[in-house]
């Protein structure tokens, strides 16, 4: 979605964000719910989004930022078009998730938590995705599970994502 990101309230994205905020307006306890929905809507949580949420819920920006940086789910920076989540559950670790990560680092040139310069991929490490039977595994875009990974398969898998 292309949008003005200034939070001036005029654009469609800001209107949708306001709708999310309205549900908890004036209720500080709704902060995590609002941030979750806001990130799902916008993809990350830049300053203008946090400021708007802080005002809407009636808390300080410090309160919002403290919460955002506490929880791993929240991101302060835009992420790539495709999110690669490498499972770092114990089963995957025992079966070689380290090698998967190493291969991704080599192929994409970015470390976990980083996005490729062309904004194509963001590599993340996540906790058990419950695909222990397929260890080591990774999920791309939250839905495509690639399991029993061997390093040499990885370039081929990545090619499927433009």
């Amino acid at each position: 979605m292309v949008a003005c990101t200034c939070g001036c309230g005029e654009d469609e994205l800001t209107k949708q964000l306001d709708k999310v905020i309205d549900e908890y307006r004036g209720q500080p306890s709704g902060l995590i719910q609002v941030l979750t929905k806001a990130q799902n809507l916008i993809g990350y949580l830049p300053l203008w989004v946090q400021t708007r949420i802080a005002k809407g819920l009636g808390v300080s920006l410090q309160e919002v930022y403290g919460v955002v940086t506490f929880y791993a789910f929240f991101s302060l920076i835009p992420r790539g078009r495709h999110k690669i989540a490498v499972c770092a559950g114990t089963a995957c670790y025992v079966k070689g998730s380290k090698t998967v990560l190493k291969t991704l680092r080599e192929v994409l040139g970015v470390k976990e938590g980083q996005t490729t310069p062309d904004s194509r991929f963001t590599v993340e490490v996540v906790r058990c995705i419950g695909a222990c039977g397929l260890a080591p595994a990774m999920i791309i875009d939250g839905k495509d599970v690639h399991g029993r990974l061997e390093p040499e398969q990885i370039p081929g898998i990545l090619e499927q994502y433009a």
Binding site: G30, L31, F70, A72, V94, C128, C132
Partner: protein, 565 residues
């Protein structure tokens, strides 16, 4: 829902419709195909198999005579996607969309099994077609996962058909709140979240607490990096959580419940919120339940990725929309929990036991398990083991039974080295302790922990120092940073392990790790910090030689660690 009679009526009619799942052939239906919809099977694309199955049924003109249902997790994740075909309870595994025709045309239409898709026990020539005959399930006892073979998690009447909400009805109409608390106490159930505190005691403290209103909270922030039991319950049988919480609400005098679920479990959140809506629709949540004047509501709160939120005070703080940092106890949540009001907090697995306890009685429940640990425990079995998946066994089952009889042993003839229980809070148990019957006390005595129930098997190719580093890395990442021993101490432990695993270990490092570990255990603020050194302490206890060969000889026997000059 106005009365028990109304509930009984729904139950009777639905049970009739589902009798095929009990093995009784039906006049109108040919089969029910229960396709496992657990995380593992979904990862193996079971939904494609469902689609293929439906296409095949349509092609063969019998779509109206066969139901294909996505259930909760059945357990044997390594074989996924798996399915059970009723009425004959045939278990099929490793299904691909292309197998749909064979099952439909051979099995369902002609009554012939499809041998290539059947389960074979390790070493056995003949397959075991019937799920009830499988060795894998023989030693298991399903209480928490009682419905996972049987019901459609999105159908409240399926849950009712298997005695769902009868326990709530009983608690509301035939028991006083004090009797409910007493029953739970007598059952001897202990919290499944980690430390194993008596659930009944917790309820009684909260019931006696003077503050109002009171709250009931379900901890579904399963964060252990090798565990997905709670997820299978939330996805496979959400009503069992709702019912357990409502019973507790009655027992302690609460009208509001919260379920705290990880954002990483979107399906669980969907299933649970759908179930809450349905329960409300059927009058099993909301106002004046069973016409007794009892009101109860449940809200979902989403956890945004912080392992420490599994700790109770941290979770309750997170529900309030804040940084999920633990607080010193006392005050305990039973007196000052969410919004500083009396709160009962139990984890998913504990809640799933409650309805069964009320329904079948404390005596029945306490007859299962060991002297100090009653009932069953669900484990997520993974790592270097043949049958990866979810298992539920009575307390007191030995590790050997789980690893070799249920888990099918170690693949590729490798030698067993250790089993890690309790995740980052637990420890590694070596081969010589395999015959230990599992309960809260025995695991703690071994330097491990029941924890939430992750159980990872390791073989000769696993380096125990590397495993210790894996867990410490996780803890350093997840430490909230509030108390100094955990914030700085775990970081220092990790740095020492990083030295050791890269060939830079020093004389005295093991002693320093021990000193740090023992001090952090006794000084950290919360359960996460106090148990964080366990993976290191237990591996030093049982595998000290591996540490020494890393430090003194720059040698990693498992060839995992890469030493750089």
């Amino acid at each position: 829902m106005k009365s028990l009679e109304e509930l009984a009526k729904i139950k009777a009619s639905r049970r009739e419709a589902l009798k095929i799942r009990e093995g009784i052939p039906s006049a109108t239906e040919k089969a029910h195909v229960m396709m496992c919809g657990g995380a593992g099977c979904i990862s193996s694309n079971c939904k494609d198999v469902v689609e293929a199955m439906q296409a095949s049924l349509a092609k063969n003109g019998i779509a109206d005579q066969v139901q294909v249902i996505l259930t909760g997790c059945m357990g044997p994740c390594d074989m996924g996607p798996v399915a059970i075909v009723y009425p004959d309870a045939t278990f099929y595994r490793r299904l691909k969309p292309k197998d749909a025709d064979a099952i439909v045309e051979e099995h369902i239409m002609k009554g012939n099994l499809v041998p290539r898709l059947l389960y074979r026990a390790p070493g056995a020539k003949e397959p075991t077609p019937k799920v009830t005959d499988m060795d894998l399930f023989a030693k298991q006892k399903k209480i928490v996962l009682r419905n996972n073979f049987y019901i459609d998690p999105t159908n409240i009447e399926d849950y009712i058909a298997n005695d769902g909400y009868v326990a709530l009805g009983k608690a509301l109409t035939a028991m006083t709140p004090a009797e409910v608390v007493e029953e739970v106490k007598k059952a001897g159930i202990r919290g499944r979240g980690g430390a194993g505190f008596s659930t009944g005691m917790k309820w009684s403290f909260c019931a006696a607490s003077k503050g109002t209103p009171k709250y009931v909270v379900c901890n579904g922030d399963e964060g252990d990096p090798g565990a997905f039991m709670d997820r299978s319950v939330l996805e496979g049988d959400p009503h069992s959580i709702i019912e357990g919480m409502a019973i507790c609400g009655r027992a302690i005098g609460a009208e509001q419940g919260y379920v705290y679920v990880r954002a990483e479990y979107p399906l669980a959140i969907d299933r649970l919120s759908y179930a809450i809506d349905k329960a409300r629709e059927y009058g099993l949540l909301g106002k004046n339940i069973f016409d007794t004047g009892f009101n109860f509501e449940i809200e979902i709160r989403i956890g945004a990725g912080a392992f420490v939120c599994g700790e109770e005070t941290a979770l309750l703080t997170s529900i309030e929309g804040k940084r999920g940092e633990p607080k010193p106890r006392p005050p305990f949540p039973a007196n000052e929990g969410v919004w500083a009001k009396p709160t009962v907090l139990n984890n998913v697995e504990t809640w799933a036991n409650i309805a069964e306890i009320i329904l079948k009685g404390a005596d029945w429940y306490s007859s299962i398990g060991t002297a100090g640990s009653k009932g069953t425990k669900v484990f997520a079995l993974a790592g270097r083991i043949n049958n990866t998946g979810i298992v539920e066994v009575p307390m007191g089952t030995t590790l050997r039974e789980i690893v070799y009889e249920i888990g099918g042993g170690i693949p590729r003839k490798k030698a067993f080295k250790a089993v890690q229980t309790g995740g980052p809070s637990g420890g590694c148990i070596p081969a010589e302790q395999l015959d230990t019957p599992i309960d809260f006390e025995s695991l703690t005595a071994l330097g491990a922990m029941m924890g939430s129930g992750g159980m990872i098997v390791m073989d000769e190719d696993t380096c125990m120092v590397d495993i210790a580093k894996f867990f410490m890395d996780f803890i350093v990442d997840e430490s909230c940073g509030k108390c100094s021993p955990c914030r700085i101490g775990t970081k220092r432990m990790l740095e020492i392990l990083e030295r050791i695993t890269t060939g830079k270990g020093k004389e005295g490092d093991i002693e320093l790790l021990l000193e740090l570990g023992n001090t952090i255990k006794s000084t950290a603020l919360c359960g996460l910090g106090q148990t964080a050194p366990n993976p290191i302490l237990s591996t030093i206890k049982y595998f000290r030689d591996e540490y020494e060969s890393h430090i003194k000889e720059n040698k990693c026997a498992a060839k995992v660690c890469e030493f750089v000059e």
